[in-house]
């Protein structure tokens, strides 16, 4: 017998087949708006709920049969689905473009974020010798001081994450060009949950690999 002496139960196999099928259809629905149009969001939601129940059920069944790694793995899958649902339901993101010109009117340089006035202090572009952009960073002024963000180094503050996305140029009425920094602001309560699920999945997979090597 492959992989451990205890066999996967028929429940486990049927569950896996149902879960994979549900996930395939739900993924297609989430990935392609056209499929979601045919399926409807109620059906997509129902599929994800079904998937969650199957994963949780398989985790509990594994727990009852004292198959600890399988239990942790399925719990991880269930937690990832819960996190994904939280992101789908509650995550909010919006784009902000700020002009780096001292002459621009205030509404071009600052925004009200959750009751706080946030304004652009500085935008810098660092280039390689051949002129290709190496990194670009935005410094924002908050009521309690300045903070800097750049690509791959987002700024987290009061539940909101500020991402450096891109930049462009704008011309003012006098014909002078100024940099415009493009930021994405996002609040996502599901991300941490999903990452906890990843941790469980990776932990269980590592345990399984060690078990198979030791056998």
């Amino acid at each position: 017998m492959w992989f451990g002496s205890s066999k996967v139960s028929a429940f486990g196999r049927v569950g896996a087949a149902v879960a994979l099928l549900a996930l395939a259809v739900a993924s297609a629905a989430l990935a392609f708006p056209r499929v979601q149009g045919v399926l409807g969001s109620a059906w997509t939601n129902a599929l994800l709920w079904g998937l969650l129940l199957v994963c949780a059920g398989m985790g509990l069944a594994a727990l009852a049969r004292r198959r600890w790694l399988s239990a942790v793995f399925h719990a991880g899958a269930a937690v990832v689905i819960v996190g994904g649902g939280m992101t789908a339901g509650y995550a909010k993101s919006w784009q902000v473009a700020l002009v780096d010109s001292p002459l621009a009117p205030p509404e071009y340089r600052q925004r009200l974020v959750e009751g706080e006035l946030v304004s652009l202090s500085k935008f810098e572009i660092e280039t390689y010798a051949d002129g290709m952009p190496k990194q670009f960073r935005t410094t924002l002024a908050f009521p309690d001081g300045e903070r800097t963000l750049s690509v791959n180094k987002p700024l987290r503050r009061k539940g909101i994450t500020y991402y450096q996305m891109s930049y462009s140029q704008a011309t003012d009425p006098y014909g002078r060009a100024w940099w415009v920094t493009h930021l994405t602001l996002r609040r996502d309560p599901g991300a941490a949950v999903t990452f906890a699920g990843y941790g469980l999945l990776a932990l269980a997979a590592l345990g399984a690999a060690i078990r198979e090597t030791a056998r």
Partner: protein
Amino acid sequence: MTVKTDLLGWLLNAQVALALLGVIVPKRLGRWIWGAVLPMGMAAIAVRWGAVGHPPMRNLFEAFLWLPAILSVATLLTRWRDGIWTVRLDALLGFVVAFPLAFVFSAEEGRLPPALQSPLFVPHVLGYMLAYAFLARAFALECAGRTDAARRSFAWGFFLMTLALALGSVWGNEAWGAYWQWDPKEQWSLATWLAYAALWHVRGSRPWRLTLLGVGLLAIVLTVTWINLSKLFPGLHSYAGL
């Protein structure tokens, strides 16, 4: 098809020749020939690393650069744990990856764009390269009837794939502001992972093992070739140009 004639090019040409000889030449001599791929592969990685100034993982050429050396280490691991030599099988896989490396892919050097400058760059790409090598070997070993070795190769490949997928998602959340965006490469990576996840549920049946290891490998090949190389699927990962 071009032949690369600089130092890196000759290190690659030598790996193609050694892998081919490793398939053909039997016994002890074949082992030494295939074993020589390890220093050659490490030298190629070092030369490229020095030339571009960052870990060579920016595109398909640089990612594939790691595979022959990884495969030759895997040969030694299987010899250590399972007591069998898999030289011909690994050399064949090595030839399959070294050939495009030497003669098809462009070795043009590039700088790292801002999105790739992250501590997660190396673990994400290296994790995937290791996972792909282990999972491809699992299929080959299962075909050759080496079930125990296939099982271990699969288990480590699946762990590495899980880890690399999760790290990629965490990285996406840092760089792009979302941990999953249904980018074509993300979808295919998920499909690949699901095929291998399904295997854990039908592990007692050899026909199912062969089918799912084969389906998984096909998904890997599609993910790294079709998605990356064609212009049909423009997406977040499409900077990994040929």
